[in-house]
Amino acid sequence: MQLYDDYKEHVDFLTIYIREAHPTDEWQMKSNEKEKDDVCYAQPKTIEQRVAIANDFTRRFKFPVPFGIDEMTNGANDAYAAWPERLYIVGEDGRITYKGGNGPFKYDPKEVRAWLAQRYGEVKHPQPPAEKKS
């Protein structure tokens, strides 16, 4: 997660795993079935199942961001109206500073990057050299 690498010295990050968006026993997406993705899980019914999927995810992607799993009561999800995916920034004073839209259509990490860049400066990455036209 590039955003985490770029700004972890300035802000804390916390990923919160919530109920699955496209499990096999609900609205499964074809893209999740493709061999390269192979992300096929039923909706967890127990916290042990959630923990197992969360561990699969963090291991597969070597996910470096601090991670928490929502309890089966969905307390975090309900408090933040987070499903299926959403971004927030909580300020130093404990108040919501940024509230992103519901994913997938309004989920926009660029807005978080813009907020962080405005506060801590833009982090630029070298662009890969453009291929020469033959």
Binding site: V11, I16, I18, G68, A79, Y80
Partner: protein, 88 residues
């Protein structure tokens, strides 16, 4: 049949069909539109939180499956970026 009622019925049917077509486009197909209505829409909420509100707390489970901690556990001092999502 009363012609007015007939046209109201036809208009409503046309609206339902149009809504279903739009949903199908958004969801990726006619079957996906049904799944979206059945499984996605009941869980999608805009939420009441607003910028400036106190950030709510909730208990989370760590990856080890046994340790619990709270979203707002860390002492204030640095902003906190919350990334909600799932694997699928």
């Amino acid at each position: 049949m009363n012609p007015t009622l007939k046209w109201i019925g036809i208009s409503l049917l046309a609206l339902v069909v149009a809504a279903y077509v739009v949903l199908s486009i958004l969801a990726g197909g006619p079957k996906d539109a049904l799944y979206m209505v059945r499984y996605a829409l009941p869980h999608m909420h805009r939420g009441n939180l607003k910028v400036g509100d106190q950030a709510p707390d909730a208990r989370l489970v760590a990856l080890d499956g046994s340790t619990c901690f709270h979203i707002r556990e860390k002492p204030a001092g640095r902003p906190l970026v919350l990334v909600f999502g799932s694997f699928t």
